[in-house]
Symmetry: C2
């Protein structure tokens, strides 16, 4: 992949020398995903010429894999026949993704040239809410009936497989399109040809609803090792399937979103470089401002303890160590809990179990850190009072930080908010406030005790 | 899933009342994944009784899905025939995972009762290094030869499908087992029965090597939408395939590892609750200590500026806002870069492109934050000097933080280290040091200017 630039240069040279046969061979030998990547890097005015040199069967596959920018350029340049070909060849879920990305004028051009049946299907799928199972499903599944024999099923598969996105799990429906069961092609191979589909089918079904969250559907597929999952409507009628390649994309997108939220960045659909400078600013600035306001709270607390740090200036020098360490402690707990919830390993009902675990962990961690620091501070400053203040602060603050780190994400979940927004920066700010307060409170008490 | 406890209680009641037929029905109707979860919650002494009530064809599936603890309990209790059955029924990659998890005495019991062929295969697979493609592959793929017809292939599939983990992509090999091409079952259905496999096969192959990193292999499968990928040895001989369900597990594990590293937790294989308190402490304490030592550096810098904050005590109150904001800025950049690299969207050769983007973003973000704060501080404290110090500090520090955030992960990658270890906490500490230094440096200059 590092040598895309070389491939593009090579292609441009061949084009300049009009060596079309060589270009065709080069494009034909490569995987559609790679061809799409390369075409994404060629100058816009060469895109259509190169696209037209693609072997006919492969052109739509390459088109599906392209970025929206290049897709738009091509559609604007396509003639009527080319649009028709590409839309009818694409899987219906990819066509829907395309329509969702394009500006209105391009969408019109697409829908005007699509077959009535395709247009209807696209319009149906466009109705599902974003991030729902319906929005990622395809309607091109293989359906069978209970009274078919395996031989009938094979015949039907042979006749219609070309338009189906997946034929390896077939869905058995009744005349009302209610989902009755599933049959894998493997099971059909392993039985005699006159077996009835109704006798062969698996009726212990795992399915999802059109309005289910796409992430939940993807996690179900991962849990049960499914390559496709049936999607049913409110009445239990089969309306589509989600395929594993789309489920993986969903899992990766959701992971990226969690990473972004935990880093106080508003989630975005585009990749790092495809996002413009101003969009980056727009994604980052709001959280920075919110967190800044809340960090002023920490400042207000510090102002109140001016006497403490005027009496014992070293308190200021040790403050970053206290807030940093407690912030890290909180982040450790919150990340483990957030990830555990995302993977389904930690549930809301486990709250007290998690708190109990965090209390024990934080006491051991807090005492360990306290001992190390007491020794360090005594050796460095020969100041017993300061060593005691730091040690006590660390024990209290670590426990508080870890309890917050484990409670906040679960509280968010309970309130139907995203646990990830409670992660690192949001939490750090809260931990900062509380640890600075505990720190100066303990310092004041120790100083007063010793001066009185 | 929330009602597992209910199911377990129900099962225990039925068992106490000796209603075995009902138990059998209950277990038979549920998905093996769910049965394994339920059996993970029953008292150890009831496990074998319940396991023996599973329908014969399903027992091995349930066993594969269980946690190592329950698997060990069962194997220790199994008679010779039960061990044989389970091992021979399991997919070979699951059997290898099992052997890797069990203590030596249990491994011996397993291998003693396995068929010689199975034992040989398990031993072969055990040789591959951890996290390599070889360690997650299965040898149970469907192989074909170029001179077979589609009818021959169907016959072969019918005869051998039962032992294969995937039959939907068949691998065409020559007599030396060199990989020649792939044929999908779908393509076989769409052509006539006397077509030669050699004419039908796709020769533009995407494969991986046994020693390739498992994450790279999983990402390749995701990129090219593959449900299986062939794994070849150094000589190009086909030795196994990786299936998409295992690839998803790899992707999720690697994501979890990145989350953990970015939260300064040592990566662990077990889930949150399966990890003991002392293991949690061991995973969290080392990084806390390392980061604590480095945060002392920040303290040392602050000590040097005692005069500055004695003259202008408000500088201390505003310090958490400065370090917090800059830490967040750095984390935003590092997270976006780390995630971009994990997804293959940001490459090392893009370094200067990324730096240029971050410089522009950080200048806009820095100036925006500076303006907001200047106004706020002027209004709150009516102190122009302080407002100027804070504004200048924010602009400089945000640029430095974002440059560090984008450079450190890429530097780590360049040095073949994991970019994720350079993330949040490690970076925060470095950003702390530099922003505190810049802050007091600017403050000292402004104070000196105004007093001279």
């Amino acid at each position: 992949m590092e040598d895309i630039k070389v491939v593009v240069e090579n292609l441009m040279e061949l084009l300049a020398e009009r060596k079309f046969a060589e270009i065709r061979k080069l494009l034909n030998d490569a995987n559609p995903v790679d061809v799409a990547t390369v075409l994404g890097e060629v100058p816009e005015e060469k895109l259509l010429i190169l696209y037209r040199m693609l072997p006919k069967g492969e052109a739509a596959d390459v088109f599906s894999e392209m970025d929206p920018e290049e897709q738009e350029t091509l559609i604007r340049a396509f003639n009527e026949r080319e649009i028709k070909e590409v839309i009818e060849e694409m899987y219906i879920d990819d066509a829907v993704d395309l329509v969702e990305e394009m500006p209105a004028v391009v969408v019109n051009k697409i829908l005007r040239h699509a077959e009535p049946e395709t247009r209807k299907q696209i319009n149906e799928l466009l109705k599902y809410p974003e991030d729902s199972a319906g929005s990622v499903m395809t309607t091109e599944y293989m359906s069978l009936k209970t009274d078919m024999t395996v031989a009938d099923a094979f015949e039907r598969i042979r006749r219609t497989a070309d338009e189906k996105e997946d034929i390896y799990t077939c869905y058995v429906i009744n005349p009302h399109r209610k989902l009755q069961g599933t049959v894998s092609l493997k099971d059909m191979f392993l039985t005699s040809k006159d077996t009835l589909i109704g006798d062969l089918m698996e009726t212990n079904l795992i399915s999802a609803n059109t309005l289910d969250d796409q992430e939940a559907v993807a996690m179900t597929m991962a849990k049960y090792d499914l390559n496709t999952i049936p999607i049913v409507d409110k009445e239990g009628r089969l309306v589509g399937i989600v395929t594993i390649d789309d489920a993986i994309d969903v899992i990766q997108e959701e992971n990226t979103e969690d990473f972004e939220k935990m880093a106080a960045v508003m989630p975005q659909d585009k990749s790092y470089f495809d996002t413009g400078v101003f969009q980056h600013v727009k994604n980052r600035l709001p959280w920075l401002l919110i967190l800044m306001i809340s960090s002023m709270l920490t400042g207000t607390i510090i102002e109140r303890y001016e006497i403490a740090f005027q009496t014992m200036p070293l308190l200021v020098a040790l403050m970053p160590m206290i807030t940093g360490t407690c912030g890290n402690c909180g982040t450790q707990s919150s990340t483990l809990i957030i990830r555990g919830m995302a993977l389904g390993e930690v549930r809301l009902s486990d709250y007290f179990k998690a708190v109990w675990k965090e209390i024990r962990v934080s006491i051991i961690v807090g005492i360990s850190l306290a001992i190390v620091n007491m020794i360090r501070i005594y050796l460095q400053y020969k100041d017993v009072k300061l060593a005691i203040v730091i040690a006590l602060t660390l024990i209290f603050c670590v426990v508080v930080a870890k309890l917050m780190g484990c409670s906040l994400p679960m509280l968010a979940k309970k309130l139907n908010l995203d646990p990830a927004i409670m992660a690192s920066p949001m939490l750090s700010t809260l931990v900062d406030v509380s640890s600075v307060w505990i720190y100066f409170q303990i310092a004041t008490i120790v100083i007063q005790k010793s001066t009185s």
